[in-house]
Assembly symmetry: C2
């Protein structure tokens, strides 16, 4: 029995997953179509058939990652809760998401600064929504409560970069010290970021869970 109709989604998904793996490992431009379809186990022409072009494949990876990131931001930040509780919730969820989607994260960050006109609008559209949320749910409340003014266009990159640092540097840090990285689990890593953000590097763990 031939499951061709069912295989539509299957082949498409195999290409998608192979692209995430290879784009993260070698970079988008360094990954050739032939290497990609070999990894996915499909014919060369299937990429253009399902995604229109190689760039269309990249766009879909970007969209997939950003939309998930945005959902997490909305779920954990929007509301009238305590600012610290919201921030802690968000960071734990976001770091978990980055860990689960670390390959997509690497692709997104690596392509971030490049100015391909076809891609940059995609990124800006997603970033605009993210900055909006961070502004309303973190920066504005922070200014009201403590008088500290941190523009959201400045804080959003800082927060995202901070949470992403572990996954970006992993390939290099593994060569520096194998044991060093693995001694910090993802949960501990998220906790560390929360503590630093709320109290600085010298802050005690106890004060984090307590409200301000």
């Amino acid at each position: 029995m031939d499951n061709r109709k069912h295989q539509k989604t299957e082949s498409r998904e195999r290409i998608f997953q192979a692209a995430i793996t290879l784009f993260a490992r070698h970079g988008f431009a360094e990954t050739g179509m032939r290497e990609l379809v070999a990894e996915a186990g499909v014919n060369l022409s299937m990429v253009n058939y399902f995604f229109g072009s190689k760039k269309g494949l990249l766009k879909e990876i970007l969209d997939s990652f950003f939309s998930g990131y945005l959902v997490i931001a909305r779920q954990n930040l929007v509301g009238d809760d305590d600012l610290h509780a919201k921030l802690e919730r968000f960071i734990r969820s976001a770091v978990g998401y980055f860990d689960a989607e670390k390959k997509s994260l690497i692709i997104v960050i690596s392509e971030l600064p490049h100015d391909d006109p076809e891609i940059v609008e995609y990124k800006a559209g997603w970033a605009r929504q993210m900055v909006e949320i961070i502004n309303q749910e973190i920066c504005v409340p922070l200014a009201v409560e403590t008088g500290q003014h941190i523009p959201s266009t400045c804080f959003t990159p800082m927060l995202t970069s901070l949470m992403a640092s572990r996954f970006l540097f992993t390939p290099v840090m593994e060569k520096v010290s194998e044991s060093g990285l693995k001694s910090v689990t993802v949960e501990v890593y998220a906790k560390m970021i929360v503590r630093i953000l709320l109290q600085g590097i010298a802050g005690s763990d106890d004060e984090v869970t307590a409200d301000l």
Copy 2:
């Protein structure tokens, strides 16, 4: 009068600068040799003549950036000063360096997670030295003084990513809000990082300059 002998350094430098500009703008793999030599105003074969290969050019950019970063780390971190003072000094200098070399920074970060075997050893070699310094001058003293244990293989990426965030996200954030980014000067940006790292996002500026 023909200054051919003097132009050796000149042509080499023009290629080097053009590469930094274009690799940062389009990415390493997306930048073609012909586009590169057009920007530099030299002949196509000059890149291989001076740098051996396109990758040799990338290696030199990496080396140039990392060596400068390492010098700043040694100058500002090594010594028996107060931990907070050292950290503040380092962050101000490093952010200034990132700003001056923002194009190289973008190249370094973008190429960081990719596993080209010819390049990854270069990065690991530099990173090893950086992690060593951060460990001895920040992580160990911090653990002694406050009992907070942050592995240097975890803190070095965090600190570097945090300081780099502004320059990585600039192309996207400019599209999000032109005014938002420029309202924060590089000096203010460095100050913000220092405050957050020492006291968290709610900390007051006054306490930063005061010793702990």
